[in-house]
Symmetry: C2
Subunit: 331 residues, 2 copies
């Protein structure tokens, strides 16, 4: 029997499983021009929390009672559309349904011979593209500079750190467990790591790990870790505001030390980044990432949760940092 | 008798006249290679407050007991240096002294036939250069965009607003009195102005004056006005952090709403600007500004305080916004 997951209610603060509802659906039938998609992998991402709020943003909010959606890899299991023959793998913004009917519009075919299909939700998907394009457009890393990255074991951060090493930088990662720190330094060859959960003075810890100061800070978390990074930046530093998971669940306006004084003093830049504004750069970025993958210069992690029924939990677990690399649900 | 003004003690919070000391000096004598300078105009600027703190910044802090310094226009009254004949006007970072001996190193000769010499401390000096170069490098104004500027009647802000009009933008200025608002809209032709001292809801006021949102915010003040501007920015907005006079006197770390969420949502940029990093652009900027001046497209104000003895008071008055345009002391 087909199933979907809808937004039952908007979360207040941290989401929980009661915000989600499972509904049984009739098995879908396709008409001329349509295809039937079987969901293979669902991407769960922190930014989805923003769409659960009833407020205008860069993307429409989810509606209560309607199915959620995110990037999904699906297989065509029946087709009346010659552009998408049976057994084709596609990726696109799709509903959280086990099966769905689609016209094929805005779906992208993916090549399972280049990499496992799940990689298209991670290192070759929006998270890898985010890392590559944000570093390219805002970071403008120069050899020998120091790159600091938060969420360093996460989907975006792990690619950021490895690109930093490919570019010849000193790279320090921030993550939330000793296992993650061990992982990013041993598997990804980062120059050092800071476990923010066991570090009381982040400003000092960053200073110790970045004795020449921070030239580029790739921020996936916002909040107090951003504050500590700002206190260690060099002249002409670039801060990439890519995510702010630490404040996404805030119910009040999150307050912090004002950054304008430091930005002036250091002639530094803070710039927000949204991958959806850079679609024209996707193809060249995917080529470069795939080349590094093939050459063994770029590795990736996935945390794969099994079972459609565990999708809400996988999403909620993001806020406890339970993932290493891209968090995916295998249906 | 010659005189100098020294930093007697470092201010806590708002500076007052007790932080300054007047000292009598012997009349200076020049040796071979030296020139004698008579101070004509002293520039007093908010950034000097930062140098009164005992902390590392982009420029050395003032030392207690030593003379203060700022940009000064001086006249050569005696010369044993053929590069600087008698009666030459020069500008440079000079001590707060009525007369001083100098080698001429790092001084720039100025042309009194192009504009009154005081203009070289304002519209043709660092404040005009700051307006022009920051708008050029960070603002990247496009015709039809909306430019919001704080400190709009001040030395930098008044040039910013006029350049915005020259570039074909809608320009709204923020200032601290109805007279200033009247002045910037009537003399400088800005499209509107907001008196922040009589406006309780700045977010709403900016929204009303900028119905299409804010594309570039040129910030001379920081603090709550910056917060209100951020809540009105458009996608791809550029925020130029040029000054933060509202927080310069803070004795505690100034707190405010975190900007990272908005920066991400709007793919916006906040960038600190220091004119001293852009010396290579000074000459071309001065040419353009002088051309606009001659063509009558650019006007400027000076608030000229008479008397060397009033220099500390003129500086302190900056923090009450008592100046319209560049604040100068005529010695």
């Amino acid at each position: 029997m087909n199933q979907q997951i809808t937004l039952k209610s908007r979360p207040e603060g941290r989401p929980d499983e009661n915000n989600f509802e499972f509904q049984e659906l009739e098995d879908p039938q396709i008409k001329n021009g349509e295809i039937l998609l079987k969901t293979e992998y669902i991407s769960v991402d922190p930014y989805l929390r923003g769409r659960m709020r009833d407020e205008k943003s860069y993307i429409e909010p989810f509606k209560v009672g309607e199915p959620l959606e995110s990037m999904i890899v699906a297989k065509v299991t029946a087709s009346q559309n010659s552009d998408f023959p049976e057994d084709t793998y596609v990726i696109g913004m799709l509903n959280w349904k086990k099966e769905q009917v689609h016209t094929g519009k805005d779906l992208k075919k993916i090549d399972p011979s280049l990499a496992p299909v799940s990689a298209y939700l991670g290192v070759l998907g929006l998270t890898g593209l985010t890392a590559y394009i944000a570093l390219d457009k805002i970071g403008q890393l120069k050899e020998g500079e120091t790159l600091l990255v938060s969420g360093a074991a996460g989907a975006v951060g792990s690619v950021v750190g490895q690109i930093g090493k490919i570019k010849g930088c000193r790279v320090i990662g921030i993550a939330g467990s000793d296992e993650k720190i061990e992982h990013i330094t041993s598997s990804f060859n980062l120059d050092g790591g800071i476990n923010y959960k066991t570090t009381s003075d982040m400003k000092k810890a960053i200073k110790e790990h970045c004795p020449n100061g921070v030239d580029v800070y790739f921020d996936n978390v916002g909040g107090q870790i951003l504050d500590a990074a700002l206190q260690n930046i060099n002249k002409h530093a670039r801060i990439i505001n890519c995510g702010a998971i630490s404040i996404y669940n805030s119910t009040e306006v999150p307050m912090g030390p004002r950054p304008e004084g430091i930005l002036i003093k250091k002639s530094a830049l803070m710039q927000g980044f949204l991958i959806r504004n850079h679609t024209e750069d996707y193809n060249s970025a995917i080529s470069q990432l795939a080349e590094w993958l093939k050459a063994g210069k770029l590795k990736y992690d996935e945390t794969v949760v099994e079972g459609f029924e565990n999708t809400p939990k996988a999403f909620i677990d993001l806020f406890d940092g339970k993932n290493t690399g891209k968090m995916l649900v295998k249906v």
